[in-house]
């Protein structure tokens, strides 16, 4: 069980790394939102389920409640992260940020 938790946490950290590098490398504000959303949801899901599994090993009532609370955090973040990303996007669109077009394909519009 703890090996499974370790594997989950490591894959969660992998998603965190991928998301962070994605936020840095992507060319435009709009495209950066994609890894930001992925990092929030996927990274947290993996890491938190890994930790919830590790906590639930003791099978005491308190441990079960704690891992339930960890799952609550996951559900909460899954609901709020898209809303937050949408709020940022809405602010960007209203401010008139035009989406990035690849240098080559820009002229054809």
């Amino acid at each position: 069980m703890s090996l499974l938790a370790a594997i989950l946490i490591i894959s969660g950290l992998f998603f965190f790394t991928g998301g962070s590098i994605g936020i840095l490398r992507f060319p435009d504000f709009y495209s950066r939102l994609h890894p930001a959303g992925k990092l929030d949801t996927m990274g947290l899901l993996m890491t938190m389920t890994g930790m919830a599994l590790y906590t639930v090993q003791e099978f005491t009532l308190a441990a079960i409640f704690t891992s339930l609370k960890i799952l609550l955090i996951i559900v909460f973040v899954f609901i709020t992260s898209p809303t937050a990303t949408h709020a940022i996007l809405d602010a960007g669109v209203r401010a008139g940020l035009s989406p990035w077009t690849a240098p080559g394909k820009g002229e054809r519009e």
Binding site: T47, V77, A95
Partner: protein, 93 residues
């Protein structure tokens, strides 16, 4: 297993520096918000990791939950605020 959590926590805080770069140097204010949002979600994971290191998971899970709520509300408030202000996108755009 303890040291595994410790190394994971250290690794996670190192990744935060990556998104800190976006939060500091982001061209537009909204890029900075993405960076702060990313750091915020990493902190929630880091909090529960620290709870596991200190064997006080109950306390740190509550803190992480509160932090997730705060992070969400902060992003909403900031994006609502920046909608109205003029200096949002970079001037030379």
């Amino acid at each position: 297993m303890e040291s595994f959590f410790l190394y994971g926590a250290i690794y996670l805080s190192l990744i935060m520096i990556l998104s800190l770069y976006r939060a500091v140097f982001g061209p537009t204010v909204l890029d900075r918000m993405i960076g702060v949002n990313a750091i915020g979600s990493k902190t929630t994971a880091l909090l529960v990791l620290i709870g596991l290191i200190y064997q006080r998971v109950e306390m740190f899970v509550d803190i992480a939950l509160a932090y997730a709520c705060l992070n969400f509300i902060a992003v909403l408030a900031a994006s609502r605020y920046f909608q109205k202000r003029k200096g949002l996108y970079d001037e030379h755009h």
